[in-house]
């Protein structure tokens, strides 16, 4: 009996970590954009959906792997164009305007997706060997879910390495702390912001492809996945990418465990967690006082 309980708990923690890894992948792109450009990108979910649908369209020609690689790049290009043409115009203004602008874009994306691909869900087929459960005895975890975690881990590690060791990465980190000084040192801040935005959208596009394989594609899926990313960022602390990483995993586990004990609260629990964190440590787990406050 005790064994069964442990097993169930272990299963749900693992499950939570898997969900959490996915939240991290999405939230870290959002966090990247928020940190450097002070933009809460409401359209992030929209970019995720576009990434998923582009992969769906490309799959018959390129196969799963080709679509997985091509789609995030195409999404990033769309993101770059939108950043150049629209979002860059409101950088100097009150953050309210970028919030409303991306909020409007989210509407356009969602309805546009519905217009192009239809309102009904679309399946996104994954290779057969990934859809097998790994073990029938204990965990009904498919290879695909493990693959999602591996992708998230690789991408996040890659991102951290790029931010640590490349020139552009170091500039982005510096810009997060003090963009004005970075500009004064002669760095092309405009280009830096665009690059940073494109990287964030690339991660959104990748999340979309991965989510499509797990849940299927629907025009409204982006909006539902956006909120957990917000919570992940707040719990981890605005301004800190490692914070977002920890925050995402934490809320994933919290909702995974709650789903086993009290299923109808599994969505609300992450907000309770957020309230507790804000009560005890208002700046978030890894946030620094004074960042964006």
């Amino acid at each position: 009996m005790c064994d069964r309980m442990t097993q169930l708990l272990l299963f749900n923690v693992t499950n939570g970590l898997i969900i959490g890894a996915f939240y991290v992948l999405m939230a870290i792109g959002l966090s990247l954009i928020l940190n450097l450009s002070n933009v809460i990108n409401f359209a992030h979910g929209g970019f995720l959906v576009i990434g998923g649908y582009i992969a769906y369209t490309l799959e018959p020609y390129l196969g799963f792997w080709g679509a997985l690689i091509a789609s995030p790049f195409l999404t990033a290009i769309i993101g770059l164009a939108i950043e150049r043409v629209l979002i860059s115009r409101v950088y100097g203004r009150d953050p309210l305007y970028s919030l409303l602008l991306t909020f409007g874009l989210a509407f356009i994306f969602e309805d546009g997706t519905r217009f192009i691909w239809g309102a009904n869900g679309k399946p996104f087929t994954i290779p057969a060997f990934l859809s097998q459960p790994l073990s029938n005895e204990f965990f009904f975890i498919t290879g695909y879910r493990l693959f999602m975690v591996a992708m998230a881990a690789v991408m996040v590690s890659l991102l951290f390495l790029l931010l640590r060791f490349t020139r552009a990465g170091i500039r982005i980190r510096a810009g997060t702390l003090d963009l004005e000084t970075v500009a004064a040192l002669g760095v092309n801040v405009r280009g830096l912001r665009s690059l940073n935005f494109a990287v964030g959208i690339f991660l959104a596009g990748l999340s979309g492809v991965l989510a499509g394989g797990q849940l299927g594609l629907e025009p409204t899926m982006g909006a539902g996945l956006l909120m957990p990313s917000f919570v992940a960022i707040i719990v981890g602390g605005v301004g800190s990418l490692p914070g977002t990483l920890v925050g995402g995993l934490l809320i994933g586990v919290a909702s995974g465990v709650t789903a086993a004990i009290f299923p109808s609260a599994s969505e609300a629990i992450i907000y309770v967690l957020m309230a507790v964190v804000l009560l005890i440590r208002p700046r978030g787990l890894f946030g620094e006082e004074g960042m964006l406050t």
């Binding site: 953050p95 305007y97 546009g112 707040i234 605005v238 969505e267």
Partner: protein, 317 residues
């Protein structure tokens, strides 16, 4: 005409137009119920603006208090007592008190951080309303309940079937709420809010307890919003989780910005434009969201001061 006279004339014109709405509405292709909706959503937008335009704090989760007001009012009418005033009172208290409690967690944040925290907290109530279907009706919404006739002692007004009578009831509630709002903004407290908006640091140096003031402003705004939400439940005889969703919050912020967020009346103008546009576009195409989205983008890029700000600028030029 002096400036004060001009202002009084404009004010008289606004109230006259509002008071005669049931008369002229049919001629512009509207209907009386649309007028009630505009007033209620306008009150909501003005509540958001109370915080955004006059304290400089952006709450993007105000739909939560709006929706809580609607549910509070609806639950009273459905389960407890068939009384419209009691429903309004309960809705306002429910939304306002929840706002006041969560406000204590939020007020220390600023800027985008404040916006994000309010969005996220707003969603809690959405999920609760969505999941707790035994009480709230879940996704289908809370029904059936109906606004009840008003007993004034000497007469009974049937606001359920007589849409003009209901419109005037809403108008009186609206007038009372914004009179209180205007009074607060003119009080020393309202002046302090403006000081915080203009320069928080200096306000702090002057010894103003900034967090306390923002919390009070936030709480007042939540009460106004919950009152609007309670009225909204009466307008529709229905309350649904969508009223709590962050996209509803976005609509309110948009109305405030579209109308002109530094002015007292701007959000009402924004609400009129928004509701009429939505009503009109959704009647011709199912892809009306694209047009709403485009409107957002155009307003943000080209009319950041809102319609009223734009008109005032033109007048000065």
């Amino acid at each position: 005409m002096s400036e004060t006279h001009r202002k009084l004339a404009i004010l008289a014109a606004i109230w006259a137009a509002l008071a005669c709405m049931p008369l002229w509405m049919p001629y512009v292709g509207g209907y009386t119920a649309l007028g009630s909706r505009v007033l209620v959503l306008g009150l909501g937008a003005m509540s958001v603006n109370f915080l955004l335009g006059f304290t400089g704090v952006l709450s993007f989760g105000h739909a939560a208090w709006f929706g809580l007001g609607a549910y509070g009012c609806g639950l009273i009418l459905k389960f407890i007592a068939l009384s419209t005033p009691l429903g309004l009172l309960a809705g306002t208290l429910l939304g306002g008190i929840c706002g006041a409690i969560l406000g204590t967690l939020i007020v220390r944040r600023r800027g985008v951080y404040f916006a994000m925290v309010t969005i996220a907290f707003g969603q809690v109530f959405y999920y609760i309303a969505f999941q707790w279907s035994s009480l709230t009706g879940g996704d289908d919404g809370l029904r059936p309940f109906y606004r009840q006739p008003l007993h004034l002692g000497f007469a009974t007004v049937d606001i359920l079937h007589d849409s003009a009578a209901f419109y005037y009831f809403v108008l009186i509630c609206f007038a009372a709420a914004i009179a209180v709002m205007g009074f607060i903004l003119r009080s020393p407290f309202g002046r302090t809010m403006l000081a915080i908006r203009e320069n928080e640091r200096r306000a702090r140096f002057l010894g103003i307890p900034v967090e306390m003031h923002i919390w009070i402003a936030f709480t007042l705004s939540c009460f106004f919003m919950a009152f609007a939400g309670s009225l909204y439940a009466l307008v529709n005889n229905f309350a649904d989780p969508k009223g709590l969703h962050y996209s509803q919050s976005g609509d309110f912020v948009m109305m405030a910005v579209m109308g002109g967020m530094r002015s007292f009346w701007g959000p009402l103008l924004g609400a009129i434009v928004f509701v009429v546009l939505q009503d009109y576009i959704s009647s011709i195409t199912i892809n009306w969201q694209i047009f709403i989205g485009l409107t957002f983008v155009v307003v943000v890029l080209f009319f950041p001061r809102g319609l009223l700000g734009f008109l005032q600028q033109r007048r000065r030029a």
